[in-house]
Structures are given as C-alpha cells and as structure tokens.
C-alpha cells in the first residue's frame, strides 16, 4: 500500500516538474515582468521537489527545502528589482497620478499641449487664429 502512495507522489511530482519546465521556456521574452513570472514558475518546481522528497522518504530534506526555497526566490527577485529592473525601467520608480479633469482650476499639460501641433510653431501669430465673420447682406 505504501508503495502505491509513494509512486503516486513521485508521478504527481514528475507531472508538476514537466509542467513547470514547459512554462519556464514557453514564456515569451517580450512579456512584461517576465523574470518575476519565471521565478513564480520555479516555485511550482520547488513544491514538486518537496513532494518527490516526501515520496522518497527524505522528510528532513523536504522540510529543509520547504524552508529555504522561498528565501531563494525572494533573493533573486529582490536582486533583479534592486538593480536590473529599476535601472533599466526608470518609469517604474515614478508614480503616475491621474489628473482631475473635472476640476476647473487644473489645466493638465498633456491635454492642452496636444492642441498645439509642431507645425503651429512655425506659423505667425495671426495665422494660428482665424476669425469667422458673418456676411450680412444689407439688401435683404
């Protein structure tokens, strides 16, 4: 009976390991935050290893690995965030604040800046504005 439980645990862990291997290489490099996603996928592999260790009867190793696996994932993610991610993507550090368009005293730069095109700078001040007049026929 124990043999069947052990082999079931080993086969479950083998399936999980194959799923995580497929996920690890099938993620596209153009995906946003792909390194964090891959660290997340390796978490599945870690748990599969713990299940396999329990299936093999190595309970002490399973307990040790259960404790140290999150530390490894956090260390890699923290290092990536502190150096590569924050330096290569500087927009991550700045916080975008949504302007309040309903407030009559706030005139967002992007909204009114888009009214002027590049060509409008070359024109004279008189050409920028056109005055429409009504033609009144006095004969009517």
């Amino acid at each position: 009976m124990i043999e069947y439980v052990q082999s079931a645990l080993l086969i479950i862990s083998a399936i999980l390991i194959i799923i995580s291997a497929i996920g690890l290489i099938s993620l596209s490099n153009s995906t946003k935050n792909v390194v964090y996603a891959r660290i997340h996928i390796v978490g599945v592999f870690d748990i599969a290893c713990i299940i396999a260790l329990i299936g093999l009867g190595q309970y002490l190793l399973a307990g040790i690995y259960f404790i140290i696996a999150p530390f490894t994932a956090h260390a890699i993610a923290n290092a990536y965030w502190k150096k590569e991610d924050r330096e290569n993507n500087s927009d991550l550090v700045t916080v975008e604040v949504e302007p309040d368009y309903d407030n009559p005293f706030i005139h967002p730069k992007d909204k009114f800046g888009s009214l002027e095109t590049e060509e409008s700078g070359k024109l004279k001040a008189d050409d920028r504005f056109s005055v429409t007049t009504l033609e009144i026929d006095e004969g009517e």
Binding site: E3, Y4, Q6, S7, A8, L10, I11, S13, A14, I15, I17, I18, S20, A21, I22, L24, I25, N29, V35, R38, I39, V42, F45, D46, C49, A52, L53, G55, L56, Q58, L61, I64, Y65, I68, F71, T72, A75, I76, A77, N78, A79, Y80, K82, K83, E84
Partner: protein, 88 residues
C-alpha cells in the same frame, strides 16, 4: 516490474527535462535569469542523485544531495546579495 521503480524513472526523465529547460532559461539576457536557471539545475541534480541513490541503494548520495541543496541555496543568496548591491 515494480510500480515504484517505474515512477522513479518517470521522475528521472522529468528532472532531466527540467534541467534542460533551466539551462535554456539561464541563457536569457538578464543576469537574474542565469542565477535562477543555475539554482534550478543544482536542485534538479540533487534530486537526480537522491533518486539514483534510492534506485541503486547507495547511502552517500543523500549526503551529497543535502550538501548540494544547502550550498546551492547559500551560493544563490550570496550572489543575489552581491547583484542587488547596497541599499541607497
């Protein structure tokens, strides 16, 4: 054939596939991906040693795999600490 024996071999095949996938992942452009891939390869190799030691009934494989898991963890965390640098 014993079902436990077959399950162990299936696990060995899965671990080899994972090692190859981790090697491919470690070749991606980010340094952190290399760190991640190498840590996965170390753990997968430790697991392979454990399963191999279980199949062929060799005792010292457990000690080697325990050392690999522990020192792999220490090396990964140390490299990550150096890569991250000091807090600004």
């Amino acid at each position: 054939m014993d079902i436990l024996f077959i399950a162990k071999f299936i696990l060995v095949i899965a671990l080899i596939i994972m090692m190859l996938a981790a090697l491919r992942a470690s070749a991606y452009k980010s340094t952190s991906m290399g760190l991640l891939g190498s840590s996965v390869v170390v753990v997968a190799f430790a697991m392979l040693l454990l399963v191999g030691g279980d199949i062929y009934d060799l005792g010292f494989f457990k000690d080697i795999s325990l050392a690999l898991i522990l020192f792999g963890f220490i090396g990964t965390v140390a490299f990550a600490a150096v890569l991250g640098g000091d807090d600004k």
